[in-house]
Each structure stands twice: as C-alpha cells, then as structure tokens.
Amino acid sequence: MEGQYVVFENVTKIYKTGETEIRANDNVNFHIAEGEFCAILGASGAGKSTILNLLGGMDVLSSGTITIDGRNLAKLNLKQLTDYRRNDVGFVFQFYNIMPNLTALENIELATEICKDSLDAKAILGDVGLDDRANNFPAQLSGGEQQRVSIARAIAKNPKILLCDEPTGALDYETGKKILKLLRDFSKKSNKTVIIVTHNQAIKAIADRIIHVKNGSVESIEINENPIDAEMLEW
C-alpha cells in the first residue's frame, strides 16, 4: 500500500527488571512510505532507541505489530529476525563499528558476503567517495571517512531500509552535514527508505517525515513538503 512501507501499530515494549516494569514504548503508532527520508526525534530517554531496536530486529516487541514491506516482525522468531537484519536492514552506527583489522573494502565485504542480493562492494565504496581509500585500514581514515565506510557497508547490502543511529553524533559540524547529504542523496537516487534516529532537532529541515517521540509514545508526526538541501543545514 502506498505510504505504508514501514508500519508501527499499537507497539508496546515493556522491560521487566524484577518487580518493576518499564514501558519503554507505549502504544506507538506511525507509518513511513517507501523511499522516504524520515527522522525520529526525541530527547534521550524518550524511547527512540527502543523504536530503533525493534525496527532493526534487535529486540522483540511486547505487543502490537511492526510491518516492513508487508512482513510482520512480531511473528518472526530469533533466527528469522537475524535473517531479517541480514538481508533487509542496513545499519549505520554512531561510532561506526567498523573492524579495525579490516581494510575499508574488506569491511564492506564483511557485510556483503553474508547477504543475498548484495551490491558490488568496490562500486559502493566509489559511490561514497572513498575510491582511493579502499585498501586503507580504519586507523588511517578520518572519522567522516570511517562513517562513510559504515554507510557503504549498510548500502552494499541492498537493504529494504537503512537505519541510522545518531550518524553525525561523533562527527564535527561540516563532516556531519556531508554525511547527511550522502544519506539523503542515496535515499532519493535509489528510492530507499532511510530512517534516522537522533536528538538533533536541526535534522528536521532535511527530512520528508518527522516523528516526535516523548515518554515512550509518538507525540506528533510532521510532514515536511519542502526539505532543504543538507548543505544548507545549520545547528
């Protein structure tokens, strides 16, 4: 259904520690269309990390349904969730998480060698502008370059959705903007759904859809008809 590529319906996640229950997500509802560049915004502790974990198949929900391209994550077992992460999700971390002992190219191959419809690692590295850095090790790369490797690794899997956890959190202002532009361009060029989880309000301006999270629930959803170019962004 048009506009219903990613759907959260009455999603609740409860963490139990002994007698106490923590409702990290309480009746969360939203949907994201295919090819959309979406930002999930909220202060720390608002429940956005839980949404990220559920969306990324890293955790199981307590009740409700999460549908990605028509597939209900609530019905998947742990092994199927791993396969989902493997084939359908590209993940960009705040701290890159690339393997220090592998070259840029090899870090991408680390992901592509295990998934079904992966793209050519070398070509993707070119797409993120790291053609000449293919054989460098992470220690020889700047933070921005490392994040590009991380993005290339996520893209190369040819996933259904790209999940980014504070992708600019560890980067300086200029570099951060370039990374956002890279992500936005990827989304538009290849019509891929990109979801950025962040506390950085500035990102609103470049997103198609902004989901505000507060106290474990969706506070409001904004549609941005005229997102600006990431390079114009200021924070």
Binding site: R85, R86, F95, N97, E113
Partner: protein, 788 residues
C-alpha cells in the same frame, strides 16, 4: 560510577569490578591455586616421605650398622660397646635356612622393648619358652603365618633335632619395611618368612653372628642426610679397626633393600617434583599476568573518568592491584593448603602396596612452595602495577577518547597473493585478527604451548617408565630362568631338565663396582665361553638403542647404557672393575641394573660356571611350573624367574606412574582453565565487535565461527610449539629420573604426540561449547555504545 563521598563507593567500585569480571577473577584464583597446590604438594612429598621414614626408623630403633661375622664373642660385643660409637648394641644369631619347605631367616635375640631392630608385636604375644616363636608380618613375598600355626624343623648347629615350634605372635621389624623380595642365598633366592626366637631360652648358645648397632646421636640426624652418612662412616671405621683379622663384614643401611628402594623412589619423585611444578607455575604466572594487563587496557575509559574526577593515580591503580592481589592470594592460599595435605597423602598412599608404612607426618617443607608461589604473586602484581601505571601516564582526555585502534597490519601471507587471493574472506579476517596484537598472540601461544608441553611430557614420561619393563623383559632379557650354581657342580646333574643344548648357556658372573671419582656404579659382569660368544644373543639381546643394530660379543667388552650414562664413559674409554682395566667396545641398550658383557679371553678371569641362563624351550615344562624342582636340585643355589623379576621392577613403577598421572591430570586441568581464561578475555575484549556482527545479521554460529576460528589457529600453533617444548622438557626430566640401577626408557610412542595434541584441541572445544552461551548472550546494544 563513583561518587566522591567517601570510601564506601570506591570499595563498591572495586567489588563491582570483580563481579563484572567474575569469570576472569575465578580463573585467576583457579590457575594460581592449581599452580600453588601443584608445587607445594609435589615439593613437600619427597621430604615428608623421607621424614616419616626417618622418624619411623628412629622410633623402631632400626640399626645404623650391622656387623656380621662367623663368630662374635661376648668380648667382641664388649669391645664394640667400649668403642664409644654405639648407642645400643643388640647381639643376635642370624641365619638363613630351609625350614618346613620355606626359605627362612632366623633371629635368636633377647626380645623386648629395648633392642635394636625391635620387632614390634602386632598380634599375639612374645615367646615364653624355647618352643614358641614370633614371625614377621606378611608382605608380598613374606608369607602370612597365623598365630597358632605349628612349624616343625631343626636348625643345623643350633637346634639340630627337629622340633615343633608354635607361632605365638606376629611382629613387624622396621628393618624389613619393604613388602618386596628380601634376598637370600638359599632356595629360590628370596625369603618366605622371618622367625624370631628369644635367645634367653637357649642357654647353650654362647656366641653371636650379628651385632645390630645404633650409632650414638644418629637418631638426631636425618638418615638420608650427608651428616648421617659421615657419622655412620666414622663409626664403621672405628669398628673396622676392632674387627681387623676377624672376618667381620660391616654394613650400614645402604645394604638394606627396604631402605634403598624407598630412597630410590623418593628420589625419583623429587626429580619430577621440581621441573614440572616450576614449568607449571611459569605457565600459570604468564597467563594470569597477561589477563591482568588486558583487564587494565580494557578499562581505559573508567580509568580516564576517575582521573578526570581527580582520583590519584595510586587510588586508581589500586583497584587493579587489589583485584590481582585478592585473586592470586586467595588462589595461592587455597592451593598451598590443599596441595600441602592432599598430594603427599595421595602419593604416599600408593606406596603402601610396596612398603609397610608409618603414618605420613606433615613437616613444614614449605620453602619451595611458598617461595615459588610468592614469586608468582609478585610477578602478577608487578605486571599489574606496570600496566596500570603505563595506562595512567596518558592524559585523562586521551583516555576518554576511544583508543585509536592500531593500524591493522598486513600480514606476511598477504605478500603471497597466490595464497591470499584464494583465501575465503572469513579466513582472511581471521588470519589478520590472529596476528593483530603481537603480544596477545605470543602470550596465548605460549600459554597453550605450556599446557600441551606439560600434558605431552607427562604422557612421554609414562612411555619412558612403561618401556623400561616392556623392553627390558621381553626384548632385551630373553631367558626364562637364571640358575645360580655351585662352580663345582657338573652340568650333568641338571641334564634331566635340560633337554635342548641350544636352550641354555653357561656363564661366569661377578658382582662388583665400577669405581670412579664421581660415584661407584654397581654392575654385574657376565662372561661366556669364547666358543659361545655368538650364543649369548639368544638369551640377552645386545644391540644399540637408537639404531637397534646388533652388537657382536666376539669383538670386545660391552657395557650397558646405564653405566655409560652414570659415569659418562663412551666407546673407547677405559674403566676399572674388580681391579682390572677394560676398554669399552660398544654400549648396549639396557634399562634395569648394569651389566658388563665379555668373552672369557677378554675378561682375564678363569671361567667357571656360576650361572646358567635357561629358556623354556630347554625345559621339559614351563620354568614357572618346575621352578620349585629346579631350586631344590642339589648344587643349584638360586633360581631367578624372569617373570618374577619383571613384577618386582614393575611395582615401583606403578607409584611413579601414579605421580605421572597426577601430572597429566593437573596439566589437563591447567590447560582447560588457561584456554577458558584466554577465550573469555578474548570475547570480553571484543564485545563491541561481536555485537556489531550480530547487528549486521550474523547468525550465532557464524559469530562463534568468527571468534573460534581464531582460537583454533592459536591452539594449533600453540600445541605444535607445545609438542616441541614438551620434547625438551621430557628429555630433561627423564635424565633427572635415571637412577643408578635403572635407566628410564627413551622411547616415546606416537600416540603420546597425538594424545597431547588432541587433548589440547578437546579442551579448546569443550571451552568453546561452554562459551557459546556467553557469545549468544552478548547484547547487540553493546554496539550502540561507545565503550563499556
């Protein structure tokens, strides 16, 4: 984390540190405990055994010196007393005789509390008249004769008329504390019983054959010490002066079978008890020390935080120092206490099959154990302090920033594109990981190699011990019985038993010592007739150990390998035996006792038949079955069955084998803990990496593969290195264990290599299965955080 509100939260910080790394903490306790227990236990075993026997011999007033003579008068005894060297002298008549179908040693002496070699009553009572006797308690060869048994016999020269004697008591004499064969010149060559008569009921007996003597103040000395030997030798010299021209034969405990075998065994245990534990401890120390270094490195962020909060370097470092101190001290305390009681008791108990043993007394022979454990704790602390201070030298800002990962290095293999290009991606990353940190790489390999080496050396030692009897009594000695004959006896009287002239060989044998500056090595000279030089090989294999090539007796004097090892003499060297000088022609493989072989013309002795080696093929029947009849033959003084001798030599090896098994088991235990610890540290260090792999969609098994492939390669390299190291270790220990009368085998079975190698892999696999759960539990959220 830490609130700056007093000591409470800092202590919490430390105890939580232990809790968070509980696996590691327990592993350090276990490794140090094992190391300390092993060294304390083994190093105290031999001293405790010796001390127990020393105390036992003193408590039983065992003789220091025995003088034997055809005739000792009351005047002689008085002269010995007047010499001032003796503490106590017990005169006795002692002779070996055939009585009632048994080879017996008879003692006539004043039975009571206050005598030397006092027979202590175990059952019944002491004799009340001249028809009552007490007998020695049974051993493996000494027969069990119940109280109430009546024996009928006469004793030549003393009580020749056959009479009935009733056994009224069972006694134990510390002089005969071994349960093994007590040799005699009569019958089959060993005693069936020892009988004690109270001489006070035999008034006609007014002479003695033996003076059992304790030397003044010797009881205060350790009977195994040099000072004891000096004091005894001094007394012997004084007695020799008295006995000049009187045909006295003076001997000390060195001629006591029980004493000698016990000392030999204690020495062997001591030989293994130094090298193994020290090696063991080295491995343990190394592993713990690496663990502590890695723990400090892992916690850079916490260290940086504390530093920025204004904690002093000393206070920050003290967490790690206390962590190391607690774990290693708990381990050492536990190890020393358990090792000190457990190992000596267990090993000592195995000796009860060979000896009538007193209770084991636990002396405080902590020196080796405590010093080595102390060195271990200090090394661990030293390494911890060093790496803590090293980390603390960085500014807190640098510590708070994630550590710049070391540039992933290209490894040697990448320079060979032919191989590298064809490797699967996952193997490439594994190989790079393996070689990523040189220090971890070497520490892990050395740790694993140490364990493999210990397991291998243990197995190899068992091979060496096994091959002694296996090779000696089936490949080298091939006769079935050795008959000692009077030189005067013509071979003809044996002829009804010997029906095949190829099945026996006559020899001239002489026991003596090869004297040298270093030590005197006992050896048996075996001479055959010139014409029969070729035939000896049918009874005793003369061959070189390594090449197995046969040695011809016709060409010169051959010595057994033990002599060569003990004296360091080689082919072409000369040696002196019984006043004659010989040149070594060849050295032949041999493990038990020492032999010199030659033909009549090389010997310089006039050939007379003293011993005949006989094979079953020459006998109408099997030697075991007809041995009784053979030994009863007139003119046959002794008959030694090879099968029995083999048993005698096998028994002490059983105890050694037991110690070896303890070594193998401990080495195995160490290996398991070491591998667990290394894997655990490896996983904890790379939690973030593992979490990231999981987020990327790696299945648990693939994640395990990623981690375990590395472990497998390290285990492979470590265990190969370990086999090499093990060969060296084994060679060293085997040499230490060579005794004067027994050379350890040098043959290692391929199975030992395979087993040591396989065991290491098995341990790694077990640990892998065990750690799989831990891998599964690693939270993917770890990849979201910067650091712990």
């Amino acid at each position: 984390m830490v609130k700056n509100n007093g000591k409470g939260s800092y202590i919490k910080y430390i105890t939580r540190g232990i809790k968070n790394h509980i696996g590691r903490f327990l592993a350090i306790i276990a490794i140090t405990a094992l190391g300390a227990a092993f060294i304390t236990g083994l190093s105290t075993t031999a001293p405790n055994m010796r001390a127990s026997i020393d105390a036992y011999l003193d408590a039983r007033t065992a003789a220091d010196i025995i003088i034997k003579a055809p005739y000792l008068s009351a005047d002689d005894i008085a002269a010995l007393t007047d010499s001032g060297y003796a503490d106590k002298i017990t005169p006795a008549i002692c002779l070996d005789a055939d009585i009632d179908g048994m080879s017996a040693r008879l003692y006539y002496l004043t039975l009571g509390e206050n005598i030397v070699n006092k027979p202590v009553l175990l059952d019944g009572r002491l004799p009340n008249n001249h028809n009552e006797i007490v007998v020695e308690t049974s051993g493996t060869y000494i027969k069990n004769i119940a109280v109430g048994t009546v024996l009928t016999f006469g004793v030549a020269n003393i009580a020749p008329v056959s009479a009935e004697y009733t056994v009224v008591g069972i006694v134990s004499n510390a002089w005969y504390f071994s349960k093994e064969k007590e040799l005699t010149y009569i019958g089959r060559g060993y005693l069936d019983t020892i009988i004690y008569f109270d001489i006070s009921y035999y008034e006609s007996l007014n002479f003695y054959t033996d003076a059992l003597i304790t030397v003044k103040d010797n009881a205060k000395l350790d009977t195994f010490s040099d000072r004891y030997k000096e004091a005894t030798d001094e007394a012997i010299q004084a007695f020799e002066a008295l006995g000049e021209n009187k045909d006295w034969y003076i001997s000390d405990r060195e001629t006591n079978q029980s004493f000698l075998t016990f000392r030999e065994n204690a020495n062997k245990i001591e030989a293994i008890s130094v090298v193994f534990p020290v090696f063991f401890l080295l491995v343990a120390t190394l592993v713990v020390l690496t663990t502590m270094t890695r723990t400090v490195n892992e916690e850079r962020l916490s260290i940086g935080t504390l530093k920025s909060l204004g904690y002093s370097d000393f206070k920050i470092a003290s967490k790690y120092i206390l962590y190391a101190l607690f774990s290693s001290l708990i381990g050492v305390a536990f190890g020393v206490i358990s090792g000190f009681r457990l190992l000596p008791a267990v090993i000592y108990n195995t000796f009860s099959t060979m000896f009538h043993l007193p209770e084991l007394s636990y002396g405080f022979y902590f020196g080796t154990g405590l010093i080595s454990s102390g060195v271990m704790v200090i090394s661990i602390l030293g390494a911890t302090v060093y790496s803590a201070l090293h980390t603390l030298k960085e500014t807190s800002a640098a510590l708070l920033r994630p550590k710049t990962p070391k540039a992933g290095k290209r490894i040697l293999l990448e320079k060979i594109p032919f191989i590298w290009k064809h490797l699967k991606f996952k193997y490439k990353s594994t190989l790079r990981n393996v070689f990523r940190y040189k220090k971890h790489f070497f520490m892990t390999i050395i740790g694993i190699a140490g364990c493999t080496a210990l397991v291998f050396a243990g197995l190899g030692l068992k091979d060496s011990a096994d091959s002694i009897t296996k090779v000696q009594y089936s490949e080298i000695l091939k006769y079935d019985v050795c008959l000692g004959v009077d030189g005067s006896m013509p071979i003809g009287s044996l002829s009804e038993y010997l029906n095949n002239s190829d099945g026996y060989i006559e020899t001239f044998q002489k026991m003596g010592y090869i004297l040298s500056d270093k030590k005197d090595v006992p050896a048996t000279l075996i001479v055959v007739r010139n014409a029969q030089a070729q035939n000896l090989n049918d009874f005793i294999t003369l061959r070189e150990r390594k090449s197995k090539s046969p040695i011809k007796l016709t060409d010169g004097v051959i010595i057994s390998e033990g002599i060569s090892v003990q004296l360091g003499i080689k082919q072409g060297d000369t040696f002196v035996f019984d006043g004659r000088e010989y040149t070594v022609y060849k050295i032949s493989e041999n493990y038990v006792n020492n032999y010199i072989y030659m033909t009549e013309n090389y010997s310089g002795f006039a050939f007379e038949t003293t011993h005949i080696f006989v094979k079953d093929s020459a006998l109408s029947g099997n030697a075991d079955q007809i041995n009784e009849s053979l030994s009863a033959l007139n003119g046959v003084s002794t008959s030694e069955l090879l099968s029995e001798t083999k048993e005698v030599f096998q028994r002490p090896l059983l105890q050694i084998n037991f110690v070896i098994i303890i070594i193998i088991v401990s080495a195995g235990a160490l290996a398991v803990i070491v591998i667990y610890n290394l894997t655990n540290v490896n996983i904890e260090e790379r939690k973030k990496e593992i979490a990231a792999l999981k987020v990327l969609g790696y299945h648990d098994r693939e994640v395990a593969g990623y981690v375990y492939r590395e472990t497998a390669i390290l285990t492979l390299l470590g265990s190969i290195a370990g086999l090499g190291l093990g060969v060296l270790l084994l060679e060293y220990v085997v040499k230490l264990m060579d005794g004067i009368n027994m050379m350890m085998g040098r043959h290692i079975t391929p199975l030992s290599f395979i087993l040591a190698f396989a065991a290491t892999f098995l341990f790694t696999s077990i640990v892998g299965v065990f750690m799989y759960g831990k891998l599964k539990k690693i939270d993917m959220n770890a990849s979201m955080k910067d650091m712990e």
